[in-house]
Symmetry: C2
């Protein structure tokens, strides 16, 4: 069973602040609506943060890593050891997300939520119930107790970040094999075949993708989780880093902290989070649409429109980090522009 807090209701959007933000946008020195999506974003954030001055200044990034037993079935283009090596790379500053965090002034925390690492890695928080998931082509990936542990690991990470009073949060992931796990979760949640949603991941070819889809469909059939409850799906074919992100999203929303949703894997965690606790939905801010085939479907199921679509397919939280400056500029424009009255600019007649 999942912990009780998972289904507790998230705060409401502040209608007062949302309306005030809309009214302010109409007075700024620009044609009405001329800043398009950035206007909507500022208005939405004002409502979510319950403030007159929406902010995206303090945005910590938390990357959760996990290993996947399903890798034994040859579903990934990279060797499994890359998960641990990349965790170390995150911590030592050489990975894409490390560079992005530095540029954005974001604190980067790396959580080993379930990799095969047997020893602690410098600069990485270890918070895992086991080393890697089981191979879901032959047995359930996780027990209910392990799943619950991962949700709480996500909640703990949010609690650590919340001490710094973040304006938003970005969650990222790392785990060789985790596009396979995510496609299995998404296919089960959406009741569709893996063929529709399994992509190339880090770079398998067409034959590799067909193999991956076959492995997923067989597993969904074996566990009987097509259209099952999210917790059943997450135990059967889930991943520890994905479950941790699912818990983290819900915990963030419950603490009134909007989450800038990264690519395919984080979006699948978000979809599971929304299925478990629909009240977290409004706290999900879209960032990008990745090149990974299934992402479009998952974003559609989440009913969110991405801000950017730059053929990214890296994960790590990188897509959300890359979109963050757009959110920051939306806030700066909202808070910093002059009104027609202040600037003595004639508004349109009538």
């Amino acid at each position: 069973m999942l912990p009780e807090w998972v289904t507790q209701k998230c705060p409401e959007i502040s209608a007062v602040h949302r309306e005030a933000a809309l009214a302010r946008q109409a007075q700024l020195t620009k044609p009405a609506g001329a800043l398009g999506r950035l206007e909507q974003l500022a208005v939405e954030l004002a409502g979510l943060q319950a403030t007159e001055q929406p902010r995206a200044a303090r945005v910590p990034i938390i990357v959760f890593a996990g290993d996947h037993g399903i890798v034994a079935q040859g579903v990934s283009a990279y060797p499994q050891g890359v998960t641990i090596a990349m965790m170390a790379n995150f911590a030592s500053g050489g990975a894409a997300i490390s560079v992005l965090a530095r540029e954005l002034g974001s604190n980067l925390e790396v959580v080993d939520a379930g990799t095969l690492a047997q020893e602690a890695i410098a600069g990485v928080v270890t918070d895992k119930p086991r080393q890697g998931t089981r191979d879901f082509s032959v047995e359930a990936a996780l027990t209910p107790t392990e799943l619950a542990f991962a949700f709480e690991a996500g909640q703990r990470a949010v609690a650590r970040a919340a001490a710094g009073r973040p304006d938003l949060l970005i969650f990222g992931e790392m785990g060789i094999g985790n596009t396979t796990t995510s496609a299995a979760i998404a296919a089960s949640l959406l009741g569709i075949s893996a063929e529709e949603i399994a992509g190339s991941g880090t770079g398998v070819d067409a034959a590799g993708r067909a193999h991956k889809a076959g492995v997923i469909d067989a597993a969904i059939a074996r566990h009987g989780v097509a259209g099952a409850l999210p917790e059943q799906i997450l135990c059967a074919v889930g991943g520890l880093e994905i479950a941790a992100i699912c818990g983290a999203i819900i915990a963030a929303a419950q603490a009134r902290i909007p989450v800038l949703i990264d690519g395919f894997i984080v979006s699948v965690a978000a979809l599971a989070a929304v299925r478990l606790n629909p009240s977290c939905h409004s706290f999900l801010l879209p960032s990008h649409q990745s090149a990974e085939q299934g992402h479009r479907l998952v974003l559609r199921a989440l009913n969110v429109q991405p801000l950017i679509s730059l053929d990214l397919r890296l994960g790590e939280g990188s897509g959300a980090a890359i979109a963050l400056p757009l959110v920051r500029l939306a806030c700066s424009l909202h808070n910093g522009m002059a009104t027609f009255a202040q600037a003595n600019v004639p508004d349109r007649p009538a």
Copy 2:
């Protein structure tokens, strides 16, 4: 006649630096191609800047303003006085582009390239051959001498900015009526009807848009400039700020400074620049696709793919400024990520 420098050849892309950048991208700790458009952007910039470390740190913004005689035909939703009022708003820091320039650490220069202002405005560089263009529904907007002056005003602005050794340049525009002027130029350059390209501008309705298209088509027929030479088109239906931007784009490319192209109006200036001097084409970096109807057609004619599409339709250089952080992050990732060898991460087998 346009000044002789306008058609002088721009520098070549450095193939050596481009190849080196491609090779570096293949060694960074990420699946090949996983940073999508940002990889291409860094590689392209390395070739344009002829450097191993592409940069987008110093990016001054120059906004050119002009007034348009065609406003007498009722083509705009806003009164003509807004052009001058907004120039003052740019200079005093209240406009969208002022806020963006502050946030991005960009120097903002405002050039009165041809507004109706009779006196100098504090913080604005005045560099114009006349106050506003003539109403092109009844006569040619500009004489050849006035057009040449505007091109040189653009070149002078680039020369001022070049002293600060910019990595890129952003040009913006302000001018009530200038979507009408731009649509007239684009329709003439592309040999299409105004109906295909005239949009809502600052916010005219469907009837207003039809009127605008009718005014443009009649003017193109009156002046006989469908498919004419760019300089003939710019005299017949052009604008002073648009001609200045056209000159500025060519001058920047000649000085090996890439230009991040803003929305509809700046893109039309870029299209005219490419027609006058095809060698400037490689120095045009796309930023966004605006909500203005004709922008898609002009971007297609320029053969560039926008980075973002956020329903912006403000002008001022704001779309390019909003896209700038993406270019900066592309450079940071290219320059700052570790290689597989440095991070001791196993690259994919084979």
